[in-house]
C-alpha cells in the first residue's frame, strides 16, 4: 500500500493557485514567489513520476515503518461505547505521523538541488523529524524554536542537536511557535536559493497545504483499507486532533468521498473556548491571513494575532490549515473543541485500558471520540465504529502529564 502512497486519488483539490474555496492562496513577500513556484513545479513533477513515488514508498515502508497498524482497542472501546480502531501512527519512526511529511519534503529538496533545510517547531517534534530526515539525506538543518519552548522542551533540543541540526532560539514576539515560523520565513527570504523551508503542517502559502496533505494522506488510504479488511465495511466516523491539521487531513482525505463517513476534527480548547485561553482557531477564531495563507485565525479586532493556549504544545498555534477551513465551510467535516482537562482524562483512560501512552495532541482526538460515541450510538441505534488517528506517542509528554496528574516525586 505505501509503495503507492502518492497514487492519484479523486479527493478534493485546490484550484491552481492553491485556493480551497475562499481560503488558502499565497500571502507572501514577492521575494518568495519564485521559490514557491519552483516548489510547486517540483512537487507536481514528482507526483507524476513513478520513480519518485517508488522511492517515497520504499522509505515509508523500510525507514518509517508504515503502513502503521490499525488496532482494535477493545478495553478502551468498552469504556467508550463504540468500536474504536486506533490508527497507530505513534509507532512510526520518530513517534508520529510527521515523519511521512518530512521524508516527502526532504526527497523534494534533493530533487530541487537544494542543500539546506530550515524548519519551525513548537514542542520540537517537527524539528526532530526534520533533523532526522536531514541526517538521512545529508542536508544542513537549522531549526527555529521559540525561546520559551527551548526551555520547556530541553530534551527535544538535545535530540535535534544529536542529529546534527542547529537549533536557534527565537526571542522575538511571544517567543513561541508562531514567532519561530516568522523567523523561519525571514531566513527563507534571505537564503532561498539553497534553502527549502520544510513546513511542518498543512498550512502556509500554496503549495504547502496541498503538498503536505499529499505526503501524509497515506494515513487515510491505509486506514480505509485496513478498516474494510478488519470490519468488512467503512467506519461510521473518523476522528483526529487539529492544530495546523496535517494528521487530520492525512486521515480524512481518503474518506472525504465516502459520504456516510462522518469526519470530526478536535481542536485544542485549552481552558475552554469561552475563557479566551485556547487554540481552537475554527471554533473560536475568525477568517484572516496568517503565515502566508487565508484561514481561520485567532486575532483581535485589529487583526493582530492572539496568543494561543493549550496543554499540548503541538496544537498550540493560532491558525489552521486552509483545507480544514474549507471543509468546515462546506460542512463536510465537523470541528469541535476539547479542553485540556477532557484531553488529559482521555489520555489517562488510554494509558490504563490499553497500555498505550498517547501524545497529548492525540489525546484530544480520543477525548472527542469519548464524547462523540454516545451521540453517534443514539443516532444510529447501534454501536458505532470509529477510526481514531493516534497521531503520535506520548514519550515527549511524560513530564507535562506527570505534572498535570501530580505524580512526579518532589525534587530533592
Amino acid at each position: 500500500m505505501s509503495a503507492d502512497a502518492l497514487a492519484p486519488v479523486a479527493g478534493p483539490q485546490p484550484d491552481s493557485a492553491g485556493h480551497f474555496g475562499r481560503f488558502g492562496g499565497r500571502f507572501v513577500p514577492e521575494a518568495l514567489v519564485a521559490a514557491l513556484d519552483e516548489l510547486d513545479g517540483a512537487w507536481r513533477t514528482a507526483m507524476a513520476d513513478e520513480s519518485f513515488r517508488a522511492e517515497f514508498g520504499a522509505l515509508l515502508r523500510d525507514y518509517a515503518g508504515t503502513p502503521s497498524l490499525l488496532y482494535e482497542a477493545r478495553r478502551f472501546s468498552a469504556k467508550v461505547g463504540a468500536r474504536v480502531l486506533l490508527k497507530r501512527e505513534d509507532l512510526n519512526h520518530t513517534g508520529a505521523h510527521k515523519v511521512r511529511n518530512v521524508l516527502g519534503q526532504a526527497l523534494l529538496t534533493k530533487r530541487m538541488g537544494k542543500t539546506r533545510v530550515i524548519a519551525e517547531t513548537g514542542a520540537g517534534q517537527h524539528g526532530v523529524a526534520t533533523a532526522t530526515a536531514a541526517a538521512l539525506f545529508d542536508l544542513e538543518c537549522v531549526v527555529y524554536m521559540g525561546q520559551v519552548d527551548t526551555e520547556r522542551q530541553a530534551l527535544n533540543v538535545a535530540r535535534m542537536r544529536m542529529l546534527g541540526a542547529t537549533v536557534v532560539p527565537v526571542t522575538n514576539g511571544s517567543r513561541t511557535l508562531k514567532d519561530a515560523m516568522n523567523e523561519a520565513m525571514r531566513d527563507w527570504v534571505a537564503n532561498v536559493d539553497e534553502t527549502h523551508y520544510l513546513i511542518g503542517t498543512a498550512a502556509g502559502p500554496h503549495p504547502f497545504p496541498a503538498m503536505v496533505r499529499d505526503f501524509v494522506r497515506g494515513i487515510g488510504d491505509e486506514a480505509r483499507q485496513q478498516c474494510l479488511d478488519l470490519t468488512g465495511g467503512l467506519p461510521d466516523a473518523v476522528t483526529a486532533c487539529v492544530g495546523g491539521g496535517s494528521n487530520a487531513l492525512g486521515i480524512f482525505h481518503a474518506f472525504v468521498g465516502d459520504e456516510a463517513v462522518r469526519l470530526y476534527g478536535f481542536e485544542a480548547g485549552g481552558d475552554g473556548v469561552s475563557t479566551g485561553r485556547h487554540a481552537a482557531s475554527i471554533t473560536g477564531g475568525s477568517a484572516g491571513v496568517l503565515h502566508g495563507t487565508r484561514t481561520f485565525v485567532l486575532q483581535d479586532a485589529d487583526g493582530q494575532t492572539l496568543e494561543s493556549h493549550s496543554i499540548s504544545a503541538g496544537l498550540d498555534y493560532p491558525g489552521v490549515g486552509p483545507e480544514h477551513a474549507w471543509l468546515h465551510d462546506t460542512g463536510r467535516a465537523n470541528y469541535l473543541p476539547v479542553t485540556d482537562d477532557e484531553a488529559m482524562a482521555a489520555f489517562e483512560l488510554l494509558c490504563r485500558t490499553e497500555g498505550i501512552i498517547p501524545a497529548i495532541e492525540s489525546a484530544h482526538a480520543l477525548a472527542g471520540t469519548v464524547a462523540l460515541a454516545p451521540k453517534l450510538a443514539a443516532e444510529l441505534g447501534r454501536e458505532p465504529t470509529i477510526v481514531v488517528n493516534l497521531s503520535g506517542r506520548g514519550d515527549k509528554d511524560v513530564h507535562t502529564a506527570g505534572d498535570y496528574f501530580g505524580i512526579l516525586d518532589k525534587e530533592r
Binding site: F27, P29, E30, N172, K178, N182, A190, G288, V289
Partner: protein, 267 residues
C-alpha cells in the same frame, strides 16, 4: 498624477532622488510617533511612510519588529494610525502607508481605503500582498483614488516583474536584497540590476529599500533609483535613545544626513 508622482517629478527635475523615511505608527507612543515623523519632515525627509504595526511582520528585521511590538504593547489601534497619518499629512509632506495584509482585511478593505484617503494618505505599500491575491484591494484603491505599491524582488521573473509593475500606481518598491528590513554595512549589488529590469517595463518612479542607513549609502542608491527608502536606521535613532528628546535629535541628524545623500547621487 498622484501627489507622490508630483513629488518624484520635482525631485527628478532637481537632479536628485526622493527620500522616503519609515516609522511605525504609535512608536514609541501615538504622540511620540507624530513628533518623530514631523521631525523627519523638518530635517529633510520628503515622504513619510507610516507602517501600521503588525504582530507577525515577516518582512521586517529585528529593529522594526521591536518598534512594532512596543507600539502594540502601548495599545495603538488601526484607527489611531489614521489620526497619525492625518497629523503628518498636515505638515505638507506626502504620507504613504505600509502594512501587512491582515490588519487591512480585518478593518475592512473598502473602509480602510476610504479612511486612508480621507486622512490624507496617498496610498499603501503591501509587503505580503501580491497582485495575484489583490482583487479586493485593486477595486478599493481605484474607488478611493489611492496609490498601490507592490514589491518587486531580485528573484522576480521577468513575467512577474511586468505583471507586478502593471498593477502599481504612484511608485514601485524594489527590495534591494533578498532579505528583511535592517541597515546593512554594504548596499546591494542586486539592486541596480533590479531597477534597470523594472525600468524596462515601467515609467513609474522606482524606490529602493532594505539596507540603507547612511548618507553615503543614500547617495549610492540615488545614483540609480528615483527614491531612497530608509526605515530601520531611522527607527533605531528612537529605539536606542535614552530620552525622547535625544531620539528626536538623533532622528533630525540622520534625516539631514540622508537628505544630503540623496542630493549627491553617486553615479
Amino acid at each position: 498624477m498622484s501627489r507622490i508622482g508630483v513629488a518624484f517629478d520635482k525631485a527628478r527635475a532637481d537632479g536628485r532622488a526622493l527620500l522616503v523615511g519609515c516609522m511605525p505608527a504609535g512608536f514609541p507612543t501615538v504622540e511620540g510617533s507624530i513628533a518623530a515623523m514631523t521631525a523627519m519632515v523638518e530635517a529633510g525627509v520628503d515622504v513619510i511612510e507610516v507602517e501600521i504595526p503588525y504582530s507577525d511582520p515577516v518582512m521586517d528585521g529585528p529593529v522594526i519588529q521591536r518598534a512594532s511590538d512596543i507600539a502594540l504593547a502601548g495599545g495603538v489601534r488601526t484607527a489611531d494610525t489614521m489620526r497619525i497619518i492625518e497629523a503628518v499629512a498636515a505638515t505638507g509632506a506626502p504620507v504613504v502607508t505600509m502594512t501587512y495584509w491582515n490588519p487591512v482585511e480585518r478593518y475592512g478593505v473598502d473602509v480602510f481605503a476610504r479612511d486612508l484617503a480621507s486622512a490624507g494618505g496617498t496610498g499603501l505599500i503591501t509587503p505580503d500582498l501580491i497582485p495575484d491575491e489583490a482583487d479586493e484591494w485593486l477595486a478599493a484603491s481605484d474607488a478611493h483614488g489611492l496609490d498601490r505599491t507592490f514589491l518587486v524582488s531580485p528573484s522576480s521573473t521577468d513575467a512577474r516583474l511586468a505583471m507586478t509593475v502593471q498593477h502599481c500606481r504612484g511608485f514601485v518598491y524594489a527590495t534591494a536584497v533578498m532579505g528583511v528590513t535592517g541597515a546593512r554595512a554594504r548596499t546591494s549589488d542586486a539592486a541596480p540590476t533590479l531597477v534597470s529590469r523594472a525600468r524596462a517595463v515601467t515609467d513609474l518612479p522606482i524606490g529602493v529599500g532594505l539596507g540603507v542607513g547612511t548618507g553615503a549609502q543614500a547617495g549610492t542608491v540615488a545614483g540609480y533609483a528615483d527614491g531612497v527608502i530608509v526605515g530601520s536606521a531611522l527607527v533605531r535613532c528612537v529605539l536606542d535613545a535614552p530620552t525622547e528628546a535625544d531620539g528626536l535629535a538623533a532622528l533630525r541628524t540622520l534625516s539631514a544626513e540622508l537628505a544630503e545623500g540623496v542630493r549627491n547621487p553617486t553615479r
